[in-house]
């Protein structure tokens, strides 16, 4: 599943940009809307249009190619514009709404939770909401508690929403494209600490299917399951464990909802020991969800209790020394894996 063909290396952020560009070329009903997705509104004639392309540059350059009819800067009105994206999706458009930081979900939650997620069901299948919400998640940039949350569990919990969490440039481009083409509302969770990471990424158009995890590494002694940035932390932990002669298999979840149960259970069946790594807070998170799945459908596969490595039950602290202690580290994952093998 993982690509082994050497291609060019681009930044995660560039991969998202390419996917957006590719989909906007392909389908004229795809529009992008959000705060400063271009920037400099009303000043295009002064050369100030597209001043930002988003705070992380994910949407930079789209204005020049597609114009302000398809790249819409919005006021700071999440309930308004995310709701407008829902309404536009339900009436024939295919909008991509940029929730700049997932922490701003609070301002928009009704439109996501009670509208986007439920219109199809409530209307007996007679509506569809083919929208995408892309949002920056995660800690690691010292952005403090209101700009560092993960929160994908909130979305996964809601029937009607789909949720993906790419972990590198390759999966970012493929999953972003898939999300846009999907006829259901899809939340694309982009970890902000991954934006500056380069990865192999094909130049051509491609789509990765939702509902599929991938193996980052094959192994036989223990399964490390990670998502978003934590998939890379698991990969790093596996390298550490290799030095101790422990051969870890790494599963990158990628699609949180729908979830690839088969890949997860197959790996646990192979190694019989599992550590699930989730940057979220410990209560009701993805790790807990996956642990319950394994305990239920994979009970006979296990030779040891299921272990979860997560953030603590606390908001994300600001001070770098505290934030580093907060985020699950490769060392902590490796130590947990070693305990399972003692």
């Amino acid at each position: 599943m993982a690509t082994t063909v050497a291609t060019r290396q681009i930044l995660y952020g560039q991969a998202i940009n390419e996917a957006l560009r590719q989909e906007m070329r392909r389908d004229p009903t795809v529009v992008v809307m959000g705060e400063d997705v271009a920037g400099g509104a009303t000043r295009d004639d002064q050369g100030m249009g597209d001043a930002w392309g988003g705070p992380f540059g994910l949407t930079k350059g789209l204005l020049a190619e597609f114009g302000r009819e398809r790249v819409l800067d919005t006021p700071i009105s999440e309930m308004g514009f995310i709701g407008a994206a829902v309404g536009a999706a339900a009436t024939g458009m295919r909008p991509v709404a940029d929730l700049m930081f997932v922490d701003f979900l609070g301002s928009a939650l009704d439109q996501v939770m009670n509208q986007a997620a439920k219109l199809r069901y409530m209307f007996g299948g007679k509506a569809k909401v083919p929208m995408t919400i892309m949002t920056a998640i995660g800690a690691g940039l010292n952005a403090a508690s209101q700009h560092s949350q993960v929160l994908y569990s909130f979305f996964v919990h809601l029937p009607g929403l789909k949720v993906v969490a790419p972990s590198d440039a390759y999966t970012a481009k493929g999953l972003m494209a898939a999300a846009i083409r999907d006829d259901d509302p899809v939340i694309v969770c982009n970890h902000k600490a991954l934006f500056s990471v380069k990865g192999d990424c094909p130049e051509e158009e491609y789509v990765l299917p939702l509902g599929q995890a991938r193996l980052l590494r094959e192994g036989k002694d223990v399964t490390l399951i990670g998502m978003s940035r934590m998939a890379m932390v698991c990969r790093d932990a596996a390298r550490m464990l290799e030095k101790d002669g422990i051969n870890a298999e790494v599963v990158d979840v990628l699609s949180l909802s729908p979830l690839d149960e088969d890949t997860i259970l197959r790996s646990v069946g192979k190694t019989r020991r599992v550590v699930i790594v989730d940057e979220s807070h410990p209560r009701c998170n993805m790790a807990t969800d996956i642990a319950a799945l394994i305990a239920d459908k994979g009970f006979d596969l296990l030779d040891a209790p299921i272990k979860r490595v997560t953030g603590p039950h606390a908001p994300v602290p600001f001070s770098p020394v505290l934030e580093s202690a907060y985020i699950p580290s490769a060392e902590r994952v490796a130590a947990t894996a070693r305990e399972l093998l003692d």
Binding site: E35, A51, A143, S145, A314, F318, Y326
Partner: protein
């Protein structure tokens, strides 16, 4: 409008301290000494100071992500502020909040806020407490032109109006919500015009003139203390730095920034008080000197302060748990 010498000295001292604090940390950030993200208030000093000049320690303010000016105007200790930016245990929030969350509740400073518009309902709530206490306290909500389009602001304003809460909504219209100009994002030319939607008074104020702010805020605070309800003040101002430390810019011209600097609130204050013989150059120079000293002391204090210990990650989540 008669202002005592004491008040004039206080105004200049606070504005100077804010400016020096912001300029200093901009340099520290550029040198890689400060983690995270900073949002500089330089240029907007007259608003925080002109308003807070009317406030007592038991009055409340809510703030924004651009909160250092509000903190200093409300009397938060600059040593603790600097230590917070350095993420030290001696910081105002023990290093756990950072720039966007500096608070000092005992001084009525209900925190900088990382959520645009997040402070508005909080200010309404503080107004509710103030009304309940019947001691004449007021709550000031500082918010920006960006926040004026957030639902939270509208709900808070309406709530304050129907309950006649002692809240002063102070909009710091600096012309930009991040990289987006206000004339694009906001349906009205003057945000103060939105006050009529809540049936409350609304005024446009020159936010780069501390005396203009002081006068308008004085009346709004008087109204609030007298139980006459909320007011919306729109202070037209300007931020000299970008939205945040690391803002790539490109959405406003150098000429525009320089034009705003020609109306600098500190320079205008000095000219006015000197022309009218209210303060002397020597007094102003002394304040300048002491301000620089205070900032350097704050940096030294921060740098020599201990880091928080990792156990602090899980403290202060609850008062009691389970």
């Amino acid at each position: 409008m008669e202002l005592s010498r004491e008040k004039l000295l206080w105004m200049y001292e606070r504005m100077r301290l804010i400016r020096d604090f912001e300029d200093r940390i901009a340099g520290l950030f550029a040198a890689g000494e400060l983690p995270g993200f900073l949002h500089f208030y330089a240029g907007e000093e007259a608003v925080a100071v002109g308003v807070c000049a009317h406030l007592n320690p038991d009055d409340f303010i809510t703030s924004t992500h651009r909160g250092h000016g509000h903190c200093i105007a409300k009397g938060v200790d600059v040593n603790q502020m600097m230590a917070e930016l350095y993420g030290r245990a001696t910081g105002a929030c023990k290093g756990k909040g950072g720039s966007m969350h500096i608070a000092d509740v005992d001084k009525g400073m209900l925190g900088a806020n990382g959520i645009v518009g997040g402070g508005a309902p909080l200010a309404a709530g503080a107004g509710l407490t103030a009304k309940y206490n019947k001691r004449g306290q007021v709550a000031v909500c500082f918010f920006g032109d960006g926040a004026n389009n957030q639902g939270a602001f509208h709900e808070a304003a309406n709530l304050a109006a129907i309950w006649k809460l002692p809240v002063i909504f102070v909009c710091e219209n600096n012309g930009y919500a991040e990289a987006t100009p206000v004339n694009y994002a906001t349906s009205v030319q003057d945000i103060a015009a939105r006050a009529s939607a809540y049936n409350i008074p609304g005024l446009v104020v020159d936010g780069q003139d501390v005396f203009a702010v002081y006068e308008a805020a004085g009346e709004a605070v008087r109204r609030a203390r007298a139980g006459e309800g909320p007011t919306l003040l729109e202070c037209k101002t300007y931020r000299y730095y970008g939205h945040f430390s690391g803002d790539p810019g490109g959405y406003r011209s150098e000429e525009e920034i320089n034009e705003a600097k020609r109306r600098d609130c500190l320079e205008r204050f000095k000219r006015q008080v000197l022309d009218r013989g209210l303060l002397t150059q020597a007094e102003l120079d002394e304040i300048d000197r002491r301000s620089k000293e205070a900032i350097e002391q704050a940096v030294a204090f921060a740098k020599s302060s201990p880091l928080p210990s990792p156990e602090e990650v899980t403290t202060d989540v609850y008062v009691r748990y389970p």
